[in-house]
Symmetry: C2
Amino acid sequence: MADQKKLVEEITSMKEDFAQWYTDVVKKAELIDYASVKGCMVIKPAGYALWENIQKELDKRFKETGVENVYMPLFIPESLLQREKDHVEGFAPEVAWVTHGGLEPLTERLCVRPTSETLFCDFYKDEVHSYRDLPKLYNQWCSVVRWEKTTRPFLRSREFLWQEGHTVHATAEDAQERTIKMLNIYADFCEQVLAIPVIKGRKTDKEKFAGAEATYTIEALMHDGQALQSGTSHNFGDGFAKAFGIQYTDKDNTMKFCHQTSWGMSTRIIGGIIMVHGDDSGLKLPPRIAPVQAVVIPIQQKKEGVMDCAASLADRLKAAGVRAKLDGSDKSPGFKFAEQEMRGIPVRIEIGPKDMEAGKCVVVRRDNGEKIDVALDALEKKIPELLDAIQNNMFEMALKHREEHTYKATEYAEFCDIIENRPGFVKAMWCGDRACEDKIKDDTRATSRCMPFEQEQLSDKCICCGKPANKMVYWGRAY
Amino acid sequence: MADQKKLVEEITSMKEDFAQWYTDVVKKAELIDYASVKGCMVIKPAGYALWENIQKELDKRFKETGVENVYMPLFIPESLLQREKDHVEGFAPEVAWVTHGGLEPLTERLCVRPTSETLFCDFYKDEVHSYRDLPKLYNQWCSVVRWEKTTRPFLRSREFLWQEGHTVHATAEDAQERTIKMLNIYADFCEQVLAIPVIKGRKTDKEKFAGAEATYTIEALMHDGQALQSGTSHNFGDGFAKAFGIQYTDKDNTMKFCHQTSWGMSTRIIGGIIMVHGDDSGLKLPPRIAPVQAVVIPIQQKKEGVMDCAASLADRLKAAGVRAKLDGSDKSPGFKFAEQEMRGIPVRIEIGPKDMEAGKCVVVRRDNGEKIDVALDALEKKIPELLDAIQNNMFEMALKHREEHTYKATEYAEFCDIIENRPGFVKAMWCGDRACEDKIKDDTRATSRCMPFEQEQLSDKCICCGKPANKMVYWGRAY
C-alpha cells in the first residue's frame, strides 16, 4: 500500500488549505493542465469526457423543449459590441482585441466574443419579420474569452467552454416563461445528474447580467462553505430588441419589438462537481455524469484465469449499460485503488483467485468506502442498483452539508459573525437598496447570491440598515 | 403549384452559373447566413444539424480506435507559433492577432489558432516521458481562424469548425500506421455516410501541410468537375518533436524523439455534400447524414382525420428509428413539396383523404423524383429500405459522374485541352519535379490533387517535361 499512500499524500488536505486541495485534485485527477498562455487551460481527456457528458445531458434536455443549435462567429466588431449601453460597459474592460488579420491592420477592431448577445441580436434583426417567425430558440456550444486578472482552473479562466442559449419571443410573458423554463432545466440537471442541490432565485440589480431586465440563478454551496453561481437565465425584456431594431409584424398588422432571453452553463460547473463532492482522496464523481462508472481491478493478475475473469466482468457490465473499464495495466493493485479514488470512479470491483473460487467479487463504493461482496452472477443487477444508491447518497450528503451550513440572521452583528466564522449561506432580510449590498460586501466580502423563489419573512427590517424590508436574500462569499 | 415554381425559380440553374447556384442553395436551404464580420458565417439550424451528425459519426469512429477528446486554448503566443520553421511560414501570413487584453496591451502578441500543432507539441513535451506514455491519441473539436482574402460559405471562410487529431508515437512505423488509419476512416465515412466517392493518395511536396513529412488526402469530384480536398492526414515524422523537444525514454533506457501525426476534417465537407449531390431544385442529402430523413405532408389537411393520420405516420416512423417530421404548417402542399426538395430531405410522404381511403400513401424520392404508392401498414418496413436504396443510388450516381469525368492524358496539349474544356480529374504521369507542377498550374490553373495509392503506368514520361516519370498523379482545378 506504499504507492497508494504516496499518491494520496501528494494532495493537500481540504482542512489544511482548501484552495490548494482543489488545485491538487484538478491536477492529480488529470482534469486539466496549464497552457502556455497565462490563465488558459488544457482540458485533458478525463476533464473533457466530463464536459462531453454534461453536453449530452443538457443538449438532450434543451432539444426536448424545441431548442435548435447554431454557430455564430468568434469575433464581434467593436461597433456592434457598443450597441447596447449596459452590455458594453459590463464586458468591454475584459475582452481580448484582434487588431491585425494576416499582415494587415484591421480597419475596425474585433473582440473575441465574451458572450454573444450582440451577434445573435444582429442576426435576429434580419431573421425575424412576422409573428409567424417567433419564437426562435437557438443555442450554441462554443468557447468564450474574458480577460480575467486572477484565474483558477474551471472556476475563472481567460477562455472557457459553455453553451449560450438566445431566444426571441413575441411577448413579455413568453420570454419570462422561457427564462424560468431554462432555469428549471439547469436546476433539475444539477440535482438529478450532478447530485448538486441548488437554490433557485433572482439576482439583485447589482448582480444581474449587463443588459438584462432580470437575471435568475441557481446557487450551490461548496464544501468550504463558499457559494458557486452554477447557471444563469436572463430575461432581457425588449431592451436589446430596441437597441438592435428587432421587430415583428403582429397578427393585428402592427410592428412590435421582440422580447428576448439568454441562458448559459459553463465548464465552471466542473469546479462545482469537484468542490461539492470531493474529499481528501481526490475526486468523487456522481455515477450519472462519471465517464467511467466502474473499474474492474484484477488481484494477483498473473495467476491463471484472473485477467480473463476480470475482462469478462467488465464486458458483462458494458453489455448491461454500465460505463465499465478494466485496469489491466502492470501497476500494483494498491496503486490502482488510489488512482480509482483520485479519479472519482464511483465503484471499483476487485477480483482475485480467492474471489473466483468463492464465486464473488469485492465491490468498493467511492462515496462512503463501503466494501460489499457481490455474487458474480448478480453483477448486472447489483452494480446498476449500487450506482443509483451512490447517486442518491451523494445528493443527500451534499444537501445535508448545505442545510448544516445555511444560517438565518436578524441582527447585523450576528450576520457578520456568521459570515466570518461559519462559512455557508446566510439568509437575511434586505430593504432593496444597493447601498446596503455595497456595505455588506465592504464589511464582510459576502454578496447577495439570490432572492430565492421560496421566501421566508425572517423579520420586517433590513439586516443592514434596519429600514422596512420584505425580501429575504441568500448571502455568502462566492467563487 | 405557383408557390413551388417561385421557390425553385429563385435559385440559379447549375448550368447557367454553378457558383451562383451554390450560393443560392446555401442561402435558400437555410444552411448559413453571412455575419457582420466579413468572411465569417452564421451556421443556421439546418446547417448545424448536418455538422452535428458529421461530428457524431466521426467521433464514434475515432473513439473506436482509442482516440480521446481534449480541448486546447484558442490562443497561441507568437513565439510558440514560430518554433517550427516551415509551419510558421505556412501559417503566419493568414492568422488573426490579438494585441490587447481588456484595456492593456499584451507583452506578446497571441494568434488565434489557425491549427493547433504548436499547442499540442508544447503540451506533449511535458506529458510524454516514457515509452509507457505512448501513444497519445488526442483529438479536439473546435473552430479555427485563417484570414483568407476571398471567402465562400463552408468552402473557405475566415473561421470554420473542424476536428483536429494530434497523436504521438514511439516509432516512425506507428505514426505511419496511424496516419493511414485515419485517412481510411475519412474515406469510409465519406463513401458510406456521405455517399461521396473519394480518391485516396499522397500529396506532392508542393501541396503538403506546412511542417509535415508527408500529407495524405482524400479528393472528391464536385458536380462542376472541380476537385475538393475533403480530409487530410499528416505524418510529421520527428520534425515537430525535434523543434519542441518531445522525447521519451525507451525500454532500452535511451532517450528518443517521438513521431507524430495530425488529421482533420472540417465544415468544408458540407460544401462537398452540396456540390456532389445537389441539383436545380436545391440540396439533396444522403439519408445517413440527413437531419430529417422523411417529412410527412398532409394533403387537404383540414379534412377530418388527415392531420391525425399524418401525425401518426410520423410517430410510427420515429418509433421505427427514422428521423421523421410532420409538416403541419398552414403552407400549401406545393410550397411544402418545394421546401422538402430545397432542403434535400430524402423522402416525402404525402397523405390525403383519398390515400387514407385506399390505405396507402404516396412516397416521393428526392434522389430521382420517383413516386411510389406504399401501403400504410408496410411503412415501417418500406421507408428504411427506401432510405438505404437512396443512399446507395446517390453513391452510385456520384461515382458514375466521377468516372465519366476522369480522363487520362499522355500528351501535354491533350492534357491542357481536357483541363480547359472537360472539367474533371486528369490522370497523367509526373517526373516528380516541382518545376513541372508550377508550370502546369501557370498554364492551366490545375494542381496536383494527389498521387493515388492505386497507381497506373500510363506512359513512361512526364506529361509536362517529357523526362522519365513513374508517378501517376490526379490533376484538376480545385476549390
